[in-house]
């Protein structure tokens, strides 16, 4: 909040010109934002949280996803997700402590929800945002099954996806939490 105090003189002048200044409780800035409605927020916010919050309706299985993968993904990510010009997505042989660790969805990704979120927001690169929710569920299921995490006929949907426990779920250390703890000490 120090920053606010430092810039207050300038802010006050603007406030006086722009809007009516109310002593004490007045907004510190010129307050030029427009109220954003629920519809705008619902349309813009596509985040999927690790507990599954934000997951839309829809469903898909690895069997459905295999064909989609051939059409939209294989050109860059290769047969079986083994990687090409795009990242390796599956088929790791080297563990994370090996000489050449292979960081894939199966060996590295901590949350299955991330996969849905990422495919929906960014894939395929030539036409992001073009896949339906069913298609994203199916591709998610396919990539999880390539990594041996779900079965070929297991349906992924808003209820099942957050329940998928990724092999490396506990593999991360929160450096920011450690940093804060260290400075507090």
């Amino acid at each position: 909040m120090m920053k606010l105090r430092r810039s207050r003189p300038a802010l006050l002048i603007l406030t006086l010109i722009g809007t009516s200044a109310i002593a004490g409780e007045a907004p510190e800035g010129p307050d030029l934002g427009q109220a954003a409605g629920a519809r705008m927020i619902a349309d813009w916010d596509t985040d999927i949280m690790p507990d599954g919050a934000g997951l839309p309706e829809g469903r898909g299985t690895a069997r459905d996803g295999a064909a989609l993968y051939r059409t939209h993904c294989i050109s860059c990510h290769g047969e079986g997700g083994l990687g090409d010009s795009g990242d390796q997505l599956a088929g790791a042989r080297m563990s994370l402590t090996g000489e050449w660790p292979e960081k894939t969805i199966g060996t590295f990704w901590p949350w299955a929800t991330t996969l849905f979120d990422f495919i929906r927001r960014a894939k395929p690169p030539q036409s992001p945002g073009s896949l339906s929710n069913d298609e994203v569920y199916a591709l998610t299921a396919y990539l999880l099954s390539l990594n041996g995490i779900v079965g070929a006929d297991e349906e992924m949907n808003a209820e099942m996806l957050p329940r998928v426990k990724m092999p490396n779920r506990d593999g991360f250390i929160d450096a920011w939490a450690r940093e804060k703890a260290a400075t507090r000490r």
């Binding site: 030029l32 705008m40 795009g86 991330t114």
Partner: protein, 452 residues
Amino acid sequence: MSDQPVARLADAAGAVAGNGILDRRLLLRQGLVFGAMAWLPPGAAAGQAGSPRVPGSSRPPWMREPGREFSPYGVPARFEQETARFPAPNRVQRNNGASWTPLHLLEGTITPNGLHFERHHNGVPDIDPGGHELLIHGLVNRALAFSVPDLLRYPLESRTCFIECGGNSNAGWNRIPSRSQAGFFHGLVSNSEWTGVPLGVLLHEAGVKPGAKWVVAEGADAFAMHVSIPLAKLQDDALLALYQNGERLRPENGYPMRLVLPGWEGVVNVKWMRRLELTDQPVMARNETARYTDLMPDGTARMFSFVMEVKSLITSPSSGMVLKGGPGLYQVTGLAWSGRGRIRRVEISADNGRTWADAELQEPVLPKAFARFRIPWRWSGAPAVLKSRATDETGNVQPERRELIAQRGRHGFYHYNGIVNWSVDENGVLGHVYDEVAAQQTGTPDIDADWD
């Protein structure tokens, strides 16, 4: 090897560390002339344009004809075309990848806007500011949308700071020393004066609800790049930047608005900002889990490792250059920076780290910004290894590469800040070596030959 300095400096004067490192205060002396650096192999006809005299005239051609007219937007001299970024796109997805700042061709501390490094995941969006808004929502009292013209009416603040990609210098983890020029190895870092609205002001207007701890920031590019940022950072020194070195942001640096989080890794300085969602937890985005996390030797990975630690680099002379004038006096210069605050000192060694001396720091030294250092060096003509080692105001010291690897292993990929060795051979040719080779070349004791 006999010492035949071309320098106009009193013999043996001012030596403060081994192998010819001289007192930085000599920089203030008048008449100090440094040897020139050239590229190996020599680049395009440099030096040819030296004295284009016409017999009988003392006037060069450009004094015998009128110069060109005004230009609405200036561009660099046509003789400086090689001062350019080095793009390294993905083989198939050509708009995904990075381009490096040519740090070895620049001086001072500010990176020209056209040379700021780039990292895009699906290209540079062509955003019409008239159709762009910033939405702040989530755990706030009132969700707000801001237009670009409205944000431009806010009281603005400037911060001069570096932005460094978390993956900068990652070739340093490789077993074989990179042979790239300094900027094309370490140039995913740039330094600008950013001007914009302090994020704290906008968050205050929206009204932060209790329980909000994180902010999910999202860009308006074709990757819809998003990451989680601790709310405390946005309320501390973060800017919603609208201007870069005085002009509106360049498209490749986030036009019309981007986050600038001084000292924190590039990926969280989200470009093309469109949405800030206050939450009680991180979203666990792909770019804070699968990428931009640092794999450690025990197989765990550090996540949310935001701060870019203290680092320095000699930009000249550096790998690929040659000390053209032969043995003699040279200026050693470079950049130092730390995500934790000001650079307090930069030490230089010419004998592979056996002895060190303090370089001169160009004033002002700003927090979380590039500091330019300089020191004179008399090259004897014998092989040498040049190193720079930075210390920041919190007392953190840039580690030797072997120390970094002992701590982090070799597969962290991100956050490489080890000391860089530039070797100089008997022909004055600069290269890049790791410690064990440096030790052989200079006859200095190798501290631990088996570490790599």
